[in-house]
Amino acid sequence: MQTWSLVSICVLLAIIARWGVSLNSYSGAGKPPMFGDYEAQRHWQEVTYNLPIQEWYFNTTNNDLNYWGLDYPPLTAYHSWICAYIAKTINPEWVELHKSRGYESTQHKLFMRMTVLVADLLIYIPAVVLYCLYLTDGSSKKKVSIMFCFLLYPGLILIDYGHFQYNGVSLGFALWGILALGLGWDVLGSMAFSLALNYKQMELYHALPFFCYLLGKCIKTGLIGRGLFLLVRIGVTVLATFALCWLPFLAEPSQAMQVVRRIFPVARGLFEDKVANTWCSLNTLIKIKSILSGDSQLYLSLACTLLAVLPSCIRLLTKPTFWHFKLALVSVFGIQHWAVFKPTGLKCNEICYACPFLVFVCSMLPLFLKDGLLVPYIVTSLGFLFFSIYLLSALDHCSEDKLRLGAYNKLFYCLFIPWGNHFLHFYISIAAMVGLSIATAVLIPPPHLPDLFPVLVSTTAFLHFLGTFIHFNVVQFSEPPSRKSQKKSN
């Protein structure tokens, strides 16, 4: 069968999966007074449509920042405005100032779900298709298989179409950025990534690899001459993109500062809820939150984050190849759970890597249970697991060589064994996930440990992240595989 028909069928299947999940409940459904992320997005439409731009990020009588105040960068606000404009033409009650708080109806849900799908169709899905067709290796069947698994990733589907968010937009822009960098269009890539940053500040986690890769590339080309010219072009593009996005807020410095204060809420503390990162896991042993002051927590977190990503970024600066860039992107994600469904389906062509992706989804199970998304969670996770194993193992073999452990194998085998005997640990990981999922969904925790299962899930996920983080750092410091079709972008 021709590639275009296979690609179309895969994309259509991905759309069905998304729409099927969106038939279920969303976060905060029927739960006044605060509801959830769905109401937050609806509220942003109400605020952006009815209020002048100068009031969007400020606490005024018309805009109560305590009730889902805007805390994403301006591009999200503009997107909300566009959605609100359409909402108003269909049914003004959906975005009426103050009166539409907590508005819920079948038609409104349909509209909101449709906005997510449209955004995905315009931004995320084309990026995935083009990335897989042009920047992955192998036969066309393998590329389509990778693309299919990529599109089926449960994390993004469940969060965007279940819980309700627009991660597809920021991830899509970031992926366009990666795609452009892979094809050697650095200026376009930096513009795309700037758009991603201006949509969701969480993309900052990927900003360092982008920065180091581009800077390294400029240095390698020669800082006197072409390299400098490239650096200037990239710099100007980034600044121009930011300026365009922030234009309405640049009139007064206080406006811009308020936006920054809203999108970086450092007052919130070291971690929130049961997140699968270092601090939450560490907190079970040492109560960091009670030992350190708020400011100390912030500096500690910043310092540790930078230290963690430093090796990877330095490596990227010295060897700015697309291969190392992709690895660095994966290495920096172990920090916050939302960013984890980064399209590091970059490495999706090895089935073993399906495992950490699924662990991330499992780590969000407590959230999905709260939203009433257990059935979609089970179906999408099973689907992703099954098709990753079936399609990718049929087309590729997960060899140790490809895992790039080689000389490091003996050294790291004793310390942490995730990928030493990879198939055994793959299955152990899957079993752990299934066990934890069943426990979280079905069992009742003992009364003196009410958060037992969410914490267990977070800690298990964290251990996987840590292992993945170390693994990819190891791989990054070894030589890239000598594949004939290896793309060299410099």
């Binding site: 069968m1 021709q2 299947l13 069905i16 729409w19 099927g20 689907g383 099954f386």
Partner: protein
């Protein structure tokens, strides 16, 4: 079959089963309550009351074997939510009930999956190693397992057609494999599960009598009367009788009058693209009808005020006349199991087009078996594409809720893209599948779809003529179905004779 055939079939089956799980929360039709009611009736009431119970409007009107099936299901239902098994709990639809019922359809589809596997075994594989995606068995597996009509009718609208079609396809597969007694047994079971399959009973009856009971043919293909085997006839009779006894045993005195709609009678409700739809449309042009008369769901009497009313007797005569040539053809000049399959299709289509109280879902009785022929012959592939596209599109009105619009459009696109590209690749060596006029007709279907789903709801006629899109869809599709019917007839009657089979 090549060694790795074992791997792609389970993958297709698992994939489609997971896909079906996405529709658990989707729109459900009244058929959902129908089956819940039947679960309650069979579970809570004694056998003697099953066909008399009428607390709910959805009385038990399938043959007894289906009632036993519902009884079996109810034993599992008890563990999900025992409240659904109370007859008084009309329209009871707790989350556990919905989950159970949806899962029961998905799980019982295993019969269909097994039948599809058997059908794939009957397909001839051309020599030479081929890419898996281009193998006839793979294409057939997808056309059957991922059939748009079944997905939409069973897993959204809600019915157990997958389970039932499993029996039909398995029976056909057995006949293709020359295991006629098994085929007959399976069909006997099927008839006792849902009597709509009476549509194709003439094909079975004549084929088995002619090609099985008469063990040999003369050299010129005509019947050799001396080869009649009473033993075989007895075996068939025994099978049918025992299955009916198993099913009807306790009910002999009770079922009369409930099963067949001829008595309760009505105009063809729904939007089935039958011949009568064409007549109705003409009638509508003459006189505007009160709004909720046609697709109310419940069976009602209806009389035309201008054109002559269509009575059950008339439909019976028309139906018999339409299938007579096909049945006669396999009697006079049998073409083996392939001829039987063609006759089965023609009986199904004839009854669909001229039958009394036909649901649009009945088009699946023709579409599914035609898939088997489509992967083997270029001409049949062309007929399949027309019948399938129009038949599937005629199912669109079944899902009328806005939330399901993306699902039906995307599923339809998926199936259509696959069927067109895969069949074209399969038969690429023999020329194009469709005549240009046929292509234009199918493209016209897209225009009709856009007009009915998008343009019409926003137009001023929406209030005055709410059933206009329904009628336009039915009439347009009726043309395609009639055309496919005639072409199938041509392929049966004008087929070159094969060697008379020795069974």
């Amino acid at each position: 079959m090549a060694a790795d055939s074992c791997s792609w079939f389970p993958a297709l089956a698992v994939g489609v089963s997971l896909l079906k799980c996405f529709f658990i929360s989707a729109y459900r039709s009244t058929d959902f309550e129908v089956h819940r009611n039947w679960l309650a009736i069979t579970h809570s009431l004694p056998v003697s009351r099953w066909y008399y119970e009428n607390t709910s409007e959805w009385t038990l009107d399938y043959p007894p074997l289906f009632a036993w099936f519902e009884l079996g299901l109810s034993q599992v239902a008890r563990r999900f939510d025992a409240n659904m098994l109370q007859v008084e709990n009309l329209n009871y639809a707790s989350p556990a009930t919905v989950l159970f019922q949806r899962l029961s359809v998905i799980v019982t589809d295993v019969v269909f999956i097994y039948a599809a596997r058997e059908c794939c075994r009957c397909v001839r594989e051309p020599k030479g190693s081929r890419d898996v995606l281009s193998r006839p068995s793979f294409v057939l597996a997808v056309l059957l397992l991922w059939n748009f009509g079944l997905l939409v009718v069973d897993h959204i609208h809600f019915q157990y057609n997958g389970f039932l079609f499993g029996f039909l396809l398995l029976s056909v597969a057995k006949h293709l494999q020359s295991q006629h007694l098994q085929g007959a047994l399976l069909f006997a079971f099927l008839l006792n599960l849902k009597h709509i399959y009476l549509y194709v009973a003439p094909a079975y009856g004549v084929y088995l009598l002619r090609s099985y009971c008469f063990a040999q043919d003369n050299k010129d293909g005509s019947v050799r009367w001396s080869s009649f085997s009473p033993l075989r006839l007895l075996a068939l009779g025994a099978i049918v009788t025992s299955v009916c006894a198993l099913s009807f045993g306790p009910f002999i005195a009770m079922v009369r009058g409930r099963e067949f709609f001829f008595c309760s009678g009505a105009a063809p409700s729904g939007s089935a693209p039958s011949v009568y739809r064409v007549i109705k449309n003409t009638h509508h042009d003459v006189e505007e009808l009160p709004p909720a008369s046609m697709t109310g769901g419940l069976v009602q009497e209806f009389e035309h005020s201008v054109l002559p009313s269509v009575t059950p007797a008339v439909t019976l005569v028309c139906t018999l006349l339409s299938i007579l040539p096909a049945v006669a053809s396999i009697w006079l000049r049998p073409h083996g199991a392939q001829g039987f399959l063609r006759c089965l299709l023609l009986c199904a289509l004839g009854c669909f087009m001229f039958g009394w109280h036909v649901h649009e879902k009945a088009i699946l009785i023709a579409i599914l078996p035609l898939s088997i022929l489509a992967v083997e012959s270029r001409e049949d592939a062309g007929i399949f594409l027309i019948l399938t596209t129009t038949g599937h599109y005629s199912l669109f009105p079944l899902l009328f809720t806005p939330a399901e619009l993306p699902i039906k459009v995307v599923l339809m696109l998926m199936f259509t893209i696959f069927s067109f590209t895969a069949l074209r690749k399969l038969h690429s060596a023999q020329g194009s599948l469709l005549h240009p006029l046929e292509v234009i007709y199918l493209l016209g279907l897209v225009a009709v779809a856009i007009a009915c789903e998008v343009v019409f709801p926003l137009s001023p006629w929406q209030q005055r003529l709410p059933f206009l899109p329904l009628l336009v869809t039915s009439v347009y599709c009726a043309m395609g179905v009639c055309y496919a019917f005639l072409r199938l007839y041509a392929s049966l009657l004008l087929r070159r004779e094969e060697k008379p089979k020795q069974l």
